[in-house]
């Protein structure tokens, strides 16, 4: 597609439920990143995929968070047993190769845990 597509755009879930967030990057972009943005905070790095290399999961806040990237394209971020502190905007970005090429972001998924 022309841009990075994220779905759903909004998700309201009950505390304790699992959620899946999807990211469809720009075709040909080998790097894919997930960030989390909370009100008044900067973007918090979660996970980074580059081609077929093992992902950098160093930013995942707990073992309730996981992500995968299938076929070097679509990525899914899964949050298990959601907590209220997980409420935030989850942003996905892709890049042609790496950080020096700049990121193209999706519009994000606004997650609200009630």
């Amino acid at each position: 597609g022309a841009g990075v597509s994220q779905s759903p755009s909004n998700k309201v879930t009950e505390k304790g439920k699992d959620v899946e967030l999807r990211c469809d990057p720009i075709s040909g972009h080998t790097a894919l990143y997930w960030y989390r943005q909370s009100l008044g905070q900067g973007l918090e790095f979660l996970i980074y995929f580059q081609g077929n290399s093992a992902p950098d999961k160093s930013g995942l806040p707990s073992d309730r968070f996981s992500a995968e990237r299938t076929g070097g394209s679509v990525s899914t971020l899964t949050i298990q047993r959601t907590q209220q502190e997980d409420s935030a905007v989850y942003l996905c970005a892709s890049s042609l190769r790496d950080k020096n090429y700049g990121y193209t972001f999706g519009s994000g998924t606004r997650l609200t845990v009630v």
Partner: protein
């Protein structure tokens, strides 16, 4: 603790005025980028600066990278309401492959 510190946090000015946003760090960056984000959207890349002392101009926006590659500034001349948004600086420390973002500066330009 933020790797990149942005100031001010909020800025409200009248149309036609000038403004400057600052991005500072104690770390050296291989490159630094500026993004603008509007409500309900993801950040959009404005510019990448890579050379210490580099100045880039994008219409009414001027970006400068510090000589030591630890800081940057964004200057907007004759601001317009369309410049309203959250401005984010981002950089990767030498040897790192992912960007760290500042907390952002919310700019409001009143008509």
């Amino acid at each position: 603790t933020q790797l990149l510190e942005q100031s001010p946090q909020f800025l409200s000015i009248q149309e036609g005025e000038n403004l400057t946003v600052y991005c500072n760090s104690s770390s050296v960056f291989s490159s630094l980028q500026w993004y603008r984000q509007e409500p309900g959207e993801g950040p959009v890349l404005l510019v990448t600066v890579v050379t210490g002392g580099e100045v880039k101009k994008l219409k009414r926006l001027t970006f400068q990278f510090g000589d030591a590659r630890k800081d940057s500034s964004l200057h907007i001349t004759a601001a317009q309401p369309g410049d309203t948004g959250l401005y984010l600086c981002a950089g990767a420390a030498i040897g790192d492959y992912k960007l760290s973002f500042g907390a952002g500066t919310t700019v409001t330009v009143r008509a």
